[in-house]
Symmetry: C2
């Protein structure tokens, strides 16, 4: 049993995490939130109080910390007595926060792969460049570290594991499809940190096919998917975190990720990309100022959390998994549908933040109860998916299945 949570980060996802931790503080204990900017943490706590989200009376505190400073994070873990750290800060801080957890023995949970600010779309498997290098140390010290426990990566890894375990003897392919069929009403905006968002799509698209890593260009391959609730949706093969771990854990399966994009998004992206404005490498202005173009694009775009009040429509994220059972071909689509407006009404965030922020809280609850307290480093598909789905069903992200593939018999995962 582990207790007391320290949330790192104060963006849209952190807001969801804070609300969901508050709603489940009977399981999780004290709730602390820390980021570089104290006022952003305080605004989140104010929102938690406004919604009366705390299930029972308890600690709810904001702190200032530089998450790039491992010693400072360790000191805060010790000061707060947090045994579980949910890192939903920038993807640049994973390793310093993880080091602080290893140092203090706290459990570590994150939702995205570590990134080096000067690199994009690193060589596969990307986890091997950073997190997995600490796996032996976590095991040796008995530190629980759950990597990529958001929706994608995270829940979709559990979807894959579930489909394979329940429906197949052998898996042949895993296609993860992420569609946001919502509308924010702005000319253009990204649904989470524009810097991280664009960095996903400016480099090589790595995927796993025929038991080897292959490469494509972004927007090279599109496909229309016939999905439940949101209907026919065009998605493009993209690089994504979970491909790097699923391909390692299921090397016999082809593993691909598909992200939905409208023509307008692609046009804006293509213009910015072709002009060099999405580059993570600094340029020098005529006046001699060194600037990273992508950081300027981020500065002019709407703050993703500002989209929430006017966001309408739904998301559909799922895994189409194909394999064989008793020598017969089988297909199953495991998925969730979430609603932007519902998310805003409940926690003051839009649906993309909601789907990313609810799962790490479910993971934290499983660490708290011991079910996922692995005492070593795990990607989500290495953990039992069923207790995860059970909690997610209860806290806002129910899992459904279409048996026979897309358009097949539609039911709850545990029906």
């Amino acid at each position: 049993m582990k207790q007391n949570v320290l949330i790192i980060g104060a963006g849209g996802v952190a807001q969801v995490v804070a609300h969901k931790c508050a709603q489940n503080n009977d399981v999780l204990g004290d709730i602390h939130i820390a980021s570089r900017t104290l006022s952003k943490c305080e605004a989140i706590l104010e929102s938690v109080r406004e919604k009366g989200a705390m299930k029972q009376e308890g600690v709810l505190e904001a702190h200032q910390v530089d998450a790039m400073d491992s010693a400072a994070v360790a000191a805060l873990i010790n000061k707060t007595g947090a045994q579980i750290v949910i890192n939903v800060g920038s993807a640049f801080v994973n390793m310093t926060v993880m080091d602080a957890c290893i140092e203090t023995g706290a459990a570590y949970i994150d939702t995205a792969i570590h990134e080096d600010p000067t690199k994009i779309c690193e060589t596969p498997p990307w986890y091997a460049n950073y997190e997995w290098k600490k796996r032996d140390l976590c095991a040796e010290k008995g530190v629980t570290a759950i990597l990529g426990a958001g929706f994608d990566p995270g829940v979709v890894n559990a979807f894959a594991r579930f489909a394979i375990d329940e429906y197949m003897d052998e898996v042949k392919s895993i296609d993860i499809v992420d569609i946001n069929a919502g509308s924010h009403g702005k000319y253009f905006a990204t649904n989470f940190d524009p810097e991280i968002n664009f960095r996903e799509f400016t480099g090589v698209v790595y995927y796993w096919e025929d038991q080897q890593w292959k490469e494509k260009k972004m927007f090279e391959t599109g496909h229309d998917w016939e999905l439940p609730v949101v209907g026919t949706s065009r998605a493009y093969q993209s690089g994504h975190d979970e491909v790097h771990s699923l391909a390692t854990n299921y090397p016999q399966a082809d593993v691909r990720f598909w992200m939905g994009f409208g023509d307008h998004y692609i046009n804006v992206f293509t213009v910015l990309q072709n002009l060099g404005l999405l580059s993570e490498q600094p340029v020098k202005t005529a006046e001699g100022q060194e600037v990273v173009p992508l950081k300027v694009v981020k500065a002019v775009l709407p703050d993703p959390s500002s989209l929430a009040p006017n966001y309408t429509g739904k998301t559909c994220i799922g895994d189409l998994v194909k394999g064989t059972k008793d020598g017969q071909d089988v297909e199953v689509f495991v998925y969730n549908v979430a609603d932007h407006k519902d998310a805003y009404n409940e926690v003051g965030s839009q649906g993309i933040s909601y789907t990313a922020g609810v799962p790490p809280v479910a993971a934290a609850m499983l660490v708290a109860t011991g079910e996922w307290d692995a005492k070593t480093m795990k990607n989500v598909e290495e953990l039992d998916p069923k207790p995860f789905f059970t909690i997610l069903d209860n806290i806002g992200l129910p899992t459904r299945v279409q048996v026979g593939g897309l358009g097949g018999e539609d039911k709850a995962w545990n029906e």
Copy 2:
């Protein structure tokens, strides 16, 4: 008679000016070029020497100067003995360079209206905000200042004056049309300083109609023009320098400016504009760095002078002037066609720089010979256009006329 030229600036237009001054140093005397970056001036002189452009032996020297520092410019005028200053530096330095000319008595020639870096598309008539405030002082001190003596503004102002003087009793409208039908082969590039280029199109489009200033939005009004040589060309009503002086000098005429844009340019422009990336106002990055987005866009775009070697095709810039003669409606189109490749072969620059850089040299020659040495401040339409056209015919930009309007009898202006 004035002698010896100091060129301020070292961009693509300055390169053309230097070459053309060198080709006419029998009239102009010593040639000096100065900018913030000495190496850029030296590269231009190297290009002049390579082409063997000097008509006769003479002085050809590079200098470093901060053109925002009026005293430094005045000192350089005195040191070089320049009696004519051709200012083709950034539009932000007009007033400091002009002050240096007033201080020293040198004649001043520029090619674009003064701009304040923090403002765009200022209230009409724009000249009245800056240059015209110094008109009385110029007259009092007998200083010649010729404003906007590039192609547009500049030659097109002379086209209007010529059409009115030669063909009309009364003018009713002046439509200036600027078409670049050339191709640079890049994904996207501007033909001169991107910062100045975009600033022209991000604010209000001012024009003069029914004897009053009116406003439109950029790309609100497009028109297909049937032009000589380049054929049917779509152009959009835009704000431009010469509208501000022509409307003042010919208040009875409607005065509009039309700039040609392809769909691809408009798409890129629209994306950048809507995202806020063309803003001249600083934004703050997440890291706290203050940056002007437009300066970053400038930094990632190709240097306009780098386009020259691969530029092909032609430009067509002209004035469609309508009025009455002996009670009858009359129309005349006065125009020039220039070729990008010819420009590059002659002076190492593309056609847009060529059309902008040749006219101020013609103006300087007319100041040198006394014909345009007005001893006061003048916009180009206030000066006799015929000697200007005569020189332009000889140095690379011949003037032609279509009598009866577009598609009418086509001939040289002096046939």
